[in-house]
């Protein structure tokens, strides 16, 4: 799974940092999304999907890489 974030769309609601804190954070100044891990391990995929789903600004997009040995 590849994770992408769009800081221009981000509203700083913090749902991603709350839902998948190992993968997302917020920067100290603006509260904008910070991507900690663009290729999270398998066991975090479920939480990352939830985070993408609940983002109120649709600022997180996921590319599933079904055939990749890494995923």
């Amino acid at each position: 799974m590849d994770v992408h974030v769009d800081r221009d769309r981000c509203l700083g609601a913090g749902m991603c940092a709350l839902t998948a804190p190992q993968v997302f954070d917020q920067d100290e100044d603006e509260g904008l999304v910070v991507l900690l891990d663009a290729r999270p391990p398998q066991e975090r995929h479920a939480a990352v999907r939830v985070a993408a789903g609940v983002c109120p600004a649709v600022a997180i997009t996921l590319t599933e890489r079904g055939s990749s040995p890494a995923s």
């Binding site: 509203l11 700083g12 609601a13 913090g14 100290e28 939830v50 789903g53 609940v54 109120p56 600004a57």
Partner: protein, 414 residues
């Protein structure tokens, strides 16, 4: 979701032949936690319904989860008050005046974005969690005071109101001792049936108070949110006064009602209360479920800026859509057994804090306050119970933020 074109047309025709509905606001007696029954019936029939507004406008009412969520996330729908028709009876007739300066709920992008960007770094998950020790301290002080005074109190006054009020005052840098000067005004701003004149007077009153405060923050740098904005932002005095009043009003009534109404719901579900009392790890998800189940910020209105096709219906430019977050959060297609309060449920994705660009800015603060306060209350007073029959608890059916006006409780002394 896939729809056959023929099904869509049929649905449209069938629904168009029925009369537009008016917004159901009547809650069934003895069901203080459920949305008005009429809303549930409408959602069962269709997630999007034609609705007649009290001023005669014919617009729409959205009650289904996915419909409500997609409207809240769609920037083709405006939040500007002057485009909105008011959905509740007894309110102002016709379109409202534009949002006062700084009232972020009544703005669209790019104006909204400018304010939101100034503020969102101050309400991050991490910053709000750093406040949790202070929330715990304030919570303990109020529980101590309740214990000292002995059994029998109004939980709203003794506990639910002061905790968020103290926290938002400390965060903003508003002296808590001044609360008599702003609480009546914020109460009027949250009422559903006030005249435009009363609402305007309350806004002017609140801004008058904030103007003095902002002048002080401009004069002497200080380490709080309004102090920061006064020193470091490009906000004019008028904008800073407006946004300060908005943040204060938004932080006072909302969490207070979640704490009081949440306690009321827990006292009516003793097994759930016991689970929260005994399992400290349950609190975060219990808070999400209470947010879903109670949906105290129950209704919102948007207006279409252009023609939008949704659910096989055409919402025309200029038409208002009343969105019922409380009906959406009880949609069985999204939440199985939606009318059951189940603190073990994964309620993530609920619309209790809204969705889209206006999703609650202070939600992480609210989460910390509820996560700390509710279990602490239950643990300190294991015998906590209502002091009046449940049907005598006065409900806020007249307010934009639902909940209870008072919650008389008592407990056994140790």
């Amino acid at each position: 979701m896939q729809h056959e074109p023929s099904t869509r047309l049929e649905t449209t025709e069938t629904t168009e032949t029925t009369e537009p509905v008016t917004l159901p606001t009547q809650r069934a007696a003895g069901c203080p936690f459920d949305p008005p029954a009429g809303l549930t019936e409408l959602r069962r029939a269709s997630p999007l319904t034609r609705m007649t507004y009290p001023d005669g406008h014919v617009g729409w009412l959205a009650t289904g989860y996915s419909t409500v969520r997609s409207i809240m996330g769609d920037t083709r729908f405006s939040s500007r008050y002057e485009l909105m028709h008011y959905p509740f009876p007894g309110g102002p007739e016709g379109p409202l005046p534009p949002a006062p300066v700084g009232d972020m709920t009544g703005m669209d992008a790019p104006e909204h974005t400018r304010f939101r960007r100034l503020l969102m770094g101050k309400f991050t998950v991490r910053r709000m969690r750093q406040l949790s020790d202070r929330v715990a301290e304030i919570t303990a002080e109020h529980l101590d005071a309740m214990e000292r005074r002995g059994p029998g109190t109004d939980l709203v006054k003794a506990f639910a109101q002061p905790i968020p009020a103290l926290m938002i005052c400390e965060l903003l840098g508003v002296p808590y001792a001044d609360r008599e000067r702003f609480q009546d005004h914020t109460h009027t701003l949250m009422a559903m049936d006030v005249t435009p004149e009363d609402r305007y007077a309350a806004m002017v009153g609140l801004q008058g108070y904030m103007a003095e405060l902002v002048a002080a923050k401009r004069a002497a740098p200080c380490d709080d949110l309004l102090g920061d904005l006064a020193q470091d932002s490009d906000l004019t005095d008028e904008e800073l006064i407006g946004v300060a009043g908005f943040l204060l009003a938004a932080g006072l009534d909302t969490t207070a009602n979640m704490i009081a109404h949440g306690t009321f719901a827990l006292l009516g579900n003793p097994a759930q209360a016991e689970a929260l009392r005994t399992d400290p790890d349950l609190a975060p998800q219990a808070v999400e479920e209470l947010m879903r189940y109670l949906t105290i910020a129950h209704t919102s209105v948007k207006s279409a800026l252009e023609d939008v096709e949704l659910e096989g219906r055409l919402i025309k430019a200029g038409e208002s859509v009343t969105i019922s977050m409380e009906a959406a959060n009880r949609d069985p297609e999204r939440f199985p057994d939606p009318d059951v309060l189940d603190l073990h449920r994964k309620a993530t994705g609920h619309l209790g804090f809204g969705h889209g660009i206006h999703q609650c800015l202070g939600q992480q603060l609210a989460r910390v306050e509820m996560t700390v306060a509710l279990p602490a209350l239950l643990r300190r007073f294991p015998t906590l119970r209502l002091d009046v029959p449940a049907e005598e608890v006065p409900l806020r059916t007249d307010m934009n933020i639902y909940g209870v006006h008072r919650l008389p409780v008592t407990w056994d002394e140790n």
